[in-house]
């Protein structure tokens, strides 16, 4: 383990846009050591006034949809053509530091990773969803304080992570494949209804016609959904990371969304609600962690769970029994 920096070294480094110190500070927020956590909290509180000035974009889609290549294509467009400073984070509770996690294999985003205005960070390994979510949200704040004005939060589209990511971003983009059949079955229920935009990927060559057809179908289906509190109607586009066609259009949809929701006040309101939500969520996680770590609870839990699962004991009676321990 390299030497720890002091709080002011981290803070000054981050605010100066120093990538090494940003990276090390993220390692700090990912650490479960109490002393690291205390230092991380000091750094976070100091840089907080400099955070918040970015567009936060959640991006999801099942494996095989071409997420990495799409993110690289859109990311390169943003850093090269539009001068944005981009940070790409990931929420993937299943990832292992050594394994094949999204973003773990940075070679899949070779060009983007090498760009001076791009910062790519894989999902923290070996943590629960709650842990990953928490440290990703803190990493997001650090990246903003370091001057990144666009944050992508990538997730894998097959689990609970999407709801967590939806709760920390301004805009949620869903990548889908043409051929509305078996390929889509991997996307979990509820994810489609969270999308502010859908882009049908791999719309090139012989695939393009099917992609256009899929766009029409999804656009119709989305019209049946109720209007979101943002008053925004989700848009469906087609794009190809291979040819680059349709990639800038996805960003135009996002800019339209941001303009509209900043105008009607929803953008700021949603951020406030997210902040408040995270306060109560953090409290809940801490209370539960403390409770389930009690030795008496750990000893009885498995037997009580089994009795409740099989209907031999009521959930309420069993909860009371554990709470009294």
């Amino acid at each position: 383990m390299p030497r720890r920096f002091s709080a002011s070294e981290y803070i000054d480094g981050i605010l100066a846009g120093n990538r090494v110190l940003l990276s090390r500070a993220i390692t700090l927020v990912e650490s479960t050591l109490p002393s690291d956590q205390a230092l991380a909290q000091q750094v976070l509180d100091a840089v907080l006034p400099h955070a918040g000035r970015s567009v936060r974009v959640g991006i999801t889609g099942v494996p095989g949809v071409g997420k990495s290549t799409f993110i690289e294509a859109l990311g390169l467009h943003l850093v090269r053509e539009r001068g944005h400073h981009l940070a790409v984070l990931a929420v993937d509770p299943t990832s292992q530091r050594s394994g094949g996690s999204i973003l773990g294999d940075k070679t899949r985003m070779n060009e983007l990773a090498a760009h001076p205005r791009a910062f790519i960070r894989p999902s923290p390994a070996g943590r629960s969803l709650g842990g990953v979510t928490r440290s990703t949200r803190e990493a997001l704040v650090l990246c903003e304080a370091a001057g990144h004005d666009v944050i992508f939060v990538e997730t894998v589209g097959v689990g609970q992570s999407e709801t967590a990511v939806h709760g920390m971003v301004d805009f949620f983009l869903l990548l889908m494949l043409a051929g509305a059949g078996d390929e889509l079955q991997g996307i979990k229920k509820g994810i489609m209804e969270m999308a502010d935009a859908i882009t049908i990927t791999k719309a090139d060559g012989g695939n393009e016609l099917a992609a256009r057809r899929a766009r029409a179908e999804y656009q119709n289906a989305l019209h049946l959904f109720p209007l979101a509190p943002s008053q925004w109607s989700p848009e469906v586009t087609i794009s190809s990371a291979l040819t680059g066609q349709g990639v800038p259009e996805v960003w135009q949809v996002l800019e339209k969304y941001v303009a509209q929701t900043q105008e009607n006040g929803y953008f700021a309101q949603r951020r406030q609600e997210q902040n408040l939500h995270w306060l109560h969520e953090t409290i809940r996680q801490s209370l539960e962690a403390q409770f389930y770590a009690r030795p008496a609870v750990r000893e009885r839990l498995a037997a009580v769970e089994q009795a409740v699962r099989e209907g031999r004991q009521s959930a309420f009676g069993a909860a009371g029994e554990l709470l009294e321990l």
Copy 2:
């Protein structure tokens, strides 16, 4: 307040199908008095082995969709034509004992309420969503133990209650109006994706053509959704509580669902998961209730929430501050 019965009077009464004692036992589980809660727990644990043998059906739809008349029509079909014992419960955290809650005005289900095999119970008043959900789930167990083999849990389709109800039922039915425009805007995002069946209501007279068109549209839209873990494809029907047309068909869809999910094991598996979920949910609610009731927390909470909402303090720092109090 009428006199309290003893635990064995409640238990014997419920198991004998005595409606007065069933009703009084539900009042007991709704009570927030510690002595009532202890007695309720005794009764619940004793009748639990006799519960569980019913089909639990969540029914939702926005105000104006004709929920009460539909429930009465379907309910009368079940008790008159098919010999079922039906209990209708409601989850409506906004209801007031005196106000116009769903089911509060029983006159809207006159005929059903008068039938000897039907039992109708309004939503408990003046409670939080967590409180209403808990007591409704306990009431459901009592109704089953009293011999009701079909339980409807009604909810109002505009808030968070639907997720809670979805977590306590086997089958979720969404009522919708034809005219996929403004009328639907009241349904919250995510509810459509929870539906195992949709019925387009008021499909009579001049409305029938529009209803048929809406059915086709929703059926197409639902096909774009991923297949649920139940392997069930949601079905869309049209119905009229006025003419009775299409009402028995809704029940046929449900019976097909039950047969399929009992066959593939999902029905039992889902009930086990729901039991386990309720155990952890009950623990969470108790931990949070205890925490937020602490005088020191109550004193600081509003100021901390305001600072977090405005981004002056990080959610994590603020949570730490409150947890240390």
